[in-house]
């Protein structure tokens, strides 16, 4: 990659709008006591945040921490309910993202917010096409675009449609466009989520150049290694509150994870103790080197009959990806799955189900329920699919299964014919659970089984999971709630940065143990 000179970059960073220039090391963007409320949620509570010119600043936190809300408040997407946003010493009130961009705050989102069908050049020059009398000077437009990309060491055919390039190139084009608009602050929201290592290196090189040129960069990511690789400081948010801002070099990983997850008193271990029945049960399901490039590094995992294995890790660590790979909902490009010692084909959900697997997905609205179908039809769907279209389950039998499940799981519905889309989230989740229970799998994978479920339903589902184990089913439960994992799991596989980093069992399954494993 050609080394762009800081001076050349400075050309694109010339300050506009009468704002004072900020010396490197000075505060370029700050949030002072910023608050934002949504109906029933306090998304940000008096958060302070400072970004210096010439630094890369990680903004970290779990789901619902307030990262994106803070970004959106600072870029004018949301109106703040309290506090100030200060850019180069001046309080600003951007009314929308375009205004923030005009002031010099540019944002590049994970999903590239450019137009894939337009050429790279058109995307880059969208707001300022060279030309006169309303006619565009295409040759100059392409030349300008090439020049902008050359600064970033990118040499591509700018007349080709953007959508034809890799995500990494699209990200770089988005960044080129962002910094060309006189940016002094660049916000990168999970830019590396779908990049491979080489592409990340390319992106990081560009980020370092921009830092050297005096830009302040806010970097949102879920990859801890990347945080330590490239950032200068870290700000951690949790539940809408500022936990603190730290020098990256001075913050240990374990402290960082503690800050992100919160330090809580270890509750008395109410984890069920496995009865010591002499010889350990044989592996029911064993996963060997299963993985896919860019999605999940190959991992090994065993689940025994009657055992509940937890999948723990931070947001973006690969919990859902692991669950989907094992179930065949994502295609693995290496590794194999064995059931009771024999290799089975789990290359599609259908085949995995034939091997006796079941899977309750994380997002039940998108991947779980069929909203127009009735509770009864949703419950028998997987069983019917396994039996095949030509062997319909008799209506009376369907009714019996549905009624039994409605009773057993306490699904709140007036009757089994109500479209499932009209039930509450918790009851929908129970319907999905019921769908798998009636198909009696040997091995059930649950991704966030209690998300969005009220406290009562939460306890019901935990009790149910334990019952299933006692009946000899093998369970794999992915959860972002460490307490939940500690409460139910016999063994825990700990994931980090799309990689399995540790496995804890027995007395080692504690909150502290998991956090330590994540941070090691």
């Amino acid at each position: 990659m050609a080394e762009p000179s800081p001076a050349a970059l400075q050309g694109g960073l010339l300050l506009s709008g009468g704002l004072r220039p900020v010396q490197p090391g000075g505060v370029v963007l700050a949030a002072r006591g910023v608050s934002k409320n949504f109906p029933a949620v306090r998304a940000l509570v008096a958060v302070d945040f400072e970004l210096k010119a010439g630094e890369i600043h990680a903004l970290l936190g779990e789901n619902g921490a307030g990262k994106s809300t803070l970004i959106k408040v600072m870029t004018g997407v949301y109106e703040r309910d309290g506090g100030d946003v200060v850019l180069a010493g001046r309080i600003i009130h951007p009314a929308h993202a375009g205004e923030a961009q005009a002031l010099g705050i540019s944002t590049v989102y994970q999903e590239v917010n450019l137009i894939p069908t337009l050429s790279v050049a058109e995307n880059l020059m969208l707001e300022r096409q060279p030309g006169r009398f309303g006619f565009v000077n295409w040759r100059r437009l392409r030349a300008d675009a090439r020049q902008m990309l050359a600064r970033m060491g990118l040499d591509i055919d700018v007349s080709r449609p953007l959508g034809g390039f890799s995500v990494a190139v699209q990200q770089l084009v988005a960044i080129a466009r962002a910094i060309a608009l006189n940016a002094r602050v660049l916000i990168l929201d999970e830019p590396t989520a779908s990049l491979d290592r080489e592409e990340i290196d390319l992106l990081f090189a560009v980020m370092r150049d921009l830092r050297a040129a005096g830009l302040g960069i806010i970097f949102v990511t879920h990859f801890l290694d990347q945080v330590y690789e490239i950032t200068d400081r870290i700000t951690v948010l949790r539940n809408g509150q500022l936990i603190g801002t730290y020098e990256t070099a001075e913050l240990s990983q374990i402290d960082l994870v503690h800050h992100m997850l919160g330090r809580q008193l270890e509750s008395a271990s109410h984890r069920r103790k496995r009865p010591a029945t002499g010889a350990p049960a044989a592996d029911l399901v064993s996963v060997r080197g299963l993985g896919r490039r860019r999605l999940m590094e190959p991992l090994d995992l065993e689940v025994r009959a009657g055992e509940l294995v937890g999948l723990a890790g931070l947001l973006g660590s690969g919990r859902t990806e692991t669950a989907k790979l094992i179930f065949g909902a994502e295609n693995a490009d290496c590794g194999e799955v064995r059931v009771a010692g024999a290799a089975v084909d789990t290359s599609s959900p259908r085949r995995a189900i034939r091997a006796g697997f079941g899977f309750c997905p994380e997002d039940r609205k998108v991947e779980g329920i069929v909203p127009e179908l009735s509770v009864r039809e949703n419950i028998i769907l997987a069983l019917q699919a396994r039996q095949g279209w030509h062997r319909p389950i008799p209506r009376a039998e369907q009714q019996r299964l549905a009624d039994q499940m409605i009773e057993a799981l306490g699904i709140a519905t007036p009757d089994s014919e109500k479209p499932v889309g009209q039930l509450s989230g918790g009851n929908q989740q129970k319907c999905i659970l019921a769908r798998w229970l009636v198909s009696s799998p040997r091995f059930l994978i649950l991704d966030e089984p209690t998300r969005g479920i009220d406290v009562g339903g939460h306890a019901d589902i935990i009790t149910l999971l334990r019952q299933l184990c006692d009946e000899g089913m093998g369970l794999l439960v992915a959860s972002s709630e460490l307490e939940e994992i500690v409460a139910v799991a016999d063994r825990v596989a700990v994931l980090r940065d799309r990689r399995k980093v540790a496995e804890l069992s027995g007395e080692a399954v504690t909150r502290a143990g998991i956090i330590e494993a994540i941070a090691q």
Partner: protein, 354 residues
């Protein structure tokens, strides 16, 4: 989906007070009411609309004409209903009718095959057309409206190639009986269409295929995770639609004793889509209703026949039809229904359903 009734099965409303109240709340209420209203309007405009006499040993009258002409539309419409159930659409049915008519006419004219063999060949042609559509949609991921548009455009060209650009006429006692004959006072084509629709209903509702079609249309991702071969189901739906169109093509060609590549089944796809919608299904997929789709097809045919019988100049035909369809669809929309209910108070079945 439909605020009128929480249960799609009337059996589930058993125990509710009265059969009439059950019907008022069932989803069949509006389509049937609309059909009856249009029939009544027809009778009002042209007295004698309901008159049915026996002429030459078969039933004769406007009502008979409605089912006679409506048979191909109803056939195509039920196939369309299955495709729409998967959240798809099949614009190519009119073209498939033309292709199948051409194949049938050329085979009958130029070969000595028995009518049964020819029918099999024609049905196979329809299935092949459906397979093509299904593969484009399910395996190549082309949007249904575009995928079937391809065959819609190309189909009439293919049909013209088969007929060498001529209107091919043929003579076959068997097909003449199928197209215009009568059995037990009733047009044979109506009996054939009815049998086909019943067969399809049995295939879909007595197996789990209907459930799978609705599951794929309602949420394809969830269906796949539940172990349903979603792509296979999608292909199946288009093949069914192709088969239905083929049978309609046979009836239409048999009726005119020839194949007209340019006009056979022209715009029939639009009537079919309207029939499905009048039958209460959503173009967003997830549900299909065979019986109500037939009601929808008869509604459209009643309109057409009614306008023809009324003596209205033919140039008004399409406009009146379009206006009537618009009114029907507005009547079906939950919002306007709610408005109507509020205005009419407890007239329709009393309490509002949650």
């Amino acid at each position: 989906m439909n605020g009128l009734s929480s249960s799609r099965n009337k059996a589930a409303t058993a125990g509710e007070p009265g059969l009439v109240a059950g019907f008022l709340r069932s989803r069949a209420f509006w389509p049937v009411l609309v059909l009856l209203l249009i029939l009544m309007a027809n009778a009002f405009i042209s007295p004698g609309f309901f008159e049915v006499t026996i002429v030459d040993g078969h039933l004769f009258g406007s009502l008979v004409d409605v089912v006679h002409r409506g048979a191909p539309t109803a056939l195509v419409a039920v196939g369309m209903a299955v495709v729409i159930g998967t959240r798809g659409i099949d614009l190519s049915v009119g073209a498939i009718i033309a292709i199948c008519g051409a194949v049938m006419a050329v085979l009958t004219r130029d070969t000595g095959f028995s009518p049964a063999v020819i029918m099999l060949a024609v049905m196979g042609t329809g299935a092949l057309c459906g397979l093509w559509n299904g593969v484009l949609v399910a395996f190549l991921g082309i949007q249904p409206i575009i995928a079937t548009l391809i065959l819609m455009v190309a189909g009439r060209g293919i049909a013209q190639m088969i007929t060498d650009g001529q209107i091919v006429t043929f003579h076959s006692a068997f097909f003449e009986a199928l197209g215009a004959g009568h059995f037990a006072y009733i047009p044979v084509r109506v009996e054939v269409a009815l049998a086909a629709v019943l067969l399809l209903a049995l295939l879909l509702r007595r197996t789990a295929l209907g459930l799978f079609v609705e599951a794929v249309g309602g949420n394809a991702a969830a269906s796949r995770l539940a172990g349903i071969e979603a792509r296979g189901i999608t292909v199946f739906a288009y093949v069914i639609s192709g088969l239905c169109a083929a049978l309609a093509g046979i009836i239409i060609a048999a009726d005119i004793r020839g194949a007209d590549a340019n006009n056979a089944g022209l715009w029939l796809e639009l009537d079919a889509i309207l029939s499905v919608v009048i039958g209460g299904a959503s173009l967003m997929g997830g549900r299909f209703y065979i019986g109500l789709t037939v009601i929808g097809a008869l509604t459209i045919q009643s309109l057409t026949t009614g306008i023809l019988v009324s003596g209205l100049p033919p140039q008004y035909n399409l406009i009146v039809k379009a206006a009537a369809v618009l009114v029907v669809l507005l009547l079906q929309a939950p919002r306007s229904r709610a408005l109507l209910r509020a205005r009419l108070g407890g007239l329709f079945g009393g309490k509002r359903h949650v």
